[in-house]
């Protein structure tokens, strides 16, 4: 009796090890441990050339970031502004496309594929493709049409750099969000919107009072995905503007990367990365909390 019980226990333990062990071990090694090490390195002087030696310096890094690092806060401001612009435009466009492509259009399946297509290509490659279009392609269009918009010095000024990156982000991401919105819109019970139409509601009223509240879960997801992606933007800045002109379009992620890998200041970079983590966590958790509250059942 005693023997069977200990054998079962051993077998349970072994199963836990076999099923959960490998994944958990790697997760701890690659994500959890480095994440917590980051809290320690935040308070050290840690040089990229000698990774095994970090010197405890207390609040020095944080003090420096908060009092003497304008460039980091420029990056922070850029990233915040970028996130707002990118999230709003992406979601408005994606929702509009979702509404359009759930109607009885003949070309809707082809169009869904077209709008989604940019999403499968990596940010770095897209950035280079668009770098060419902004610098050479737009000039050619401008010459042919004479439209002022295309004759601007794209990526050459802080404003065109900003909107240039926003544009590529929107182009890349809205197809993905559109797919999520389409699934949600199809899930809205037909009888509800038909009843509203029979009662004389306009298309806009039906959308506002029926469709919109019922697709709130999809809006939560899409806002979450776009916010966290936009706030972490890196590849596009690197390949489109390199953070320039000057460092006016440097994102936080790029700033951290350069602090560590160009300036070899790993300690300072880690301190920034921790501030970055708290900012990301705060923004995404608040956003999910706010939109979740507005979700309703049909």
């Amino acid at each position: 009796m005693h023997n069977t019980r200990s054998r079962t226990r051993w077998s349970e333990w072994l199963q836990q090890m076999v099923f959960v062990g490998p994944g958990l071990l790697i997760f701890l090694l690659i994500v959890a441990v480095p994440f917590f090490m980051g809290f320690y390195y935040t308070f050290t002087e840690w040089n990229g050339l000698d990774l095994n030696n970090a010197k405890w310096t207390g609040m020095t890094n944080l003090k420096r970031i908060f009092t003497d690092d304008g460039r980091f806060w420029t990056a922070f401001g850029f990233t915040a502004k970028f996130t707002v612009a990118a999230v709003v435009i992406t979601n408005v466009l994606a929702l509009a496309l979702g509404m359009l492509l759930t109607r009885n259009l003949k070309g809707r399946s082809v169009l869904r594929v077209i709008f989604f297509l940019p999403n499968v290509i990596g940010g770095l490659l897209l950035g280079y493709i668009w770098y060419f279009i902004y610098t050479r392609g737009f000039a050619a269009i401008g010459e042919a049409t004479g439209w002022h918009l295309f004759n601007l010095p794209w990526l050459g000024t802080p404003a065109t750099g900003f909107w240039g990156i926003v544009g590529v982000f929107v182009w890349q991401t809205s197809g993905y969000m559109m797919i999520i919105y389409i699934a949600a819109i199809i899930g809205v019970p037909k009888d509800l919107s038909e009843a509203a139409r029979i009662d004389g509601a306009s298309a806009w009223q039906t959308f506002r009072s029926i469709t919109f509240p019922l697709i709130m879960p999809a809006i939560t997801i899409c806002l979450f995905l776009t916010t966290s992606n936009a706030f972490r933007v890196f590849d596009l800045n690197l390949s489109l503007t390199g953070g320039g002109p000057g460092y006016s379009s440097e994102s936080i992620a790029l700033n951290i990367y350069r602090e560590a890998l160009t300036n070899s200041r790993y300690g300072l970079g880690t301190a920034k990365a921790m501030i970055f983590f708290f900012a990301v966590a705060l923004i995404t958790v608040t956003q999910v909390w706010v939109t979740k509250k507005r979700e309703v059942e049909a």
Partner: protein, 277 residues
Amino acid sequence: METKPRYSPLLLGLELLCFLLGLAFLMPFYFLIINSFKKLGAILLNAASLPDSWGFGNFKRAWVAIDFPVVFMHSFVITSLSVGCLVVAASMTAYRLVRKPTTFNKLLFTIFVAAMIIPFQSVMLPLMRITSLFELRGHVYGIVICYIGFGISLSVFLFHGFIKSVPLEIEEAAVVDGCTPYGLYWRVVFPLLKPISVTVIILNVLWIWNDYLLPVLVINDAFTTIPLAVQKFFGQYLRKWDLAMASLTLSTLPVIVFFLFLQKHIIEGITAGSVKG
């Protein structure tokens, strides 16, 4: 009284609007492709015009310049190994977490979910220490381990949501027939997970294939992937647009082919992944 919605003028207008938008979305691909065929002088003269002839000279030179077959193989090996390991490790973990919801396992699931909001940059620098300590840097197995670590949260989460809806009766029947817990998982449960496995595979393939930063940090010159090769190429020959466009076309082609072949699964997979999310 039920009538089919007629194809009204309004619908025709919307259709046209959508097609115009679709053309605008495809515009970058137009520029990419036509300029891959042009000589540098023609590109500089007018980037929007069609090429005079459709020769493959640029592609031949780009093929050599970025060492395309080699970097393609590198990307392929890293992506397929990482995704294969991820699917097995994450489905096993999720299976156990669902079927044995002990306090420890519930906590573990919460940790996996919470870890999804940690940005890569917040882990990246201490990870450099870990990867050099455990000699993961410069090796294929090293970067595969890193991808398993970063990918496992989302993958466990997706499998977890799916396994909850798999009826227990099937597994109970298999146990009665004398299946061991491991055989039960591998021969009975894992095949049932196929729909969500497809989603997990697609999401991870698109991420890992296109990833730039992790390979730069962990593997770099030892095993250059496509994004690294393109980045390096642009560092050297920024203004050689003829070569640059051809190498960008070559580099984007594999993933576009992957997408066009699997587009139905990809679009369904993303829907499934996001609804679970």
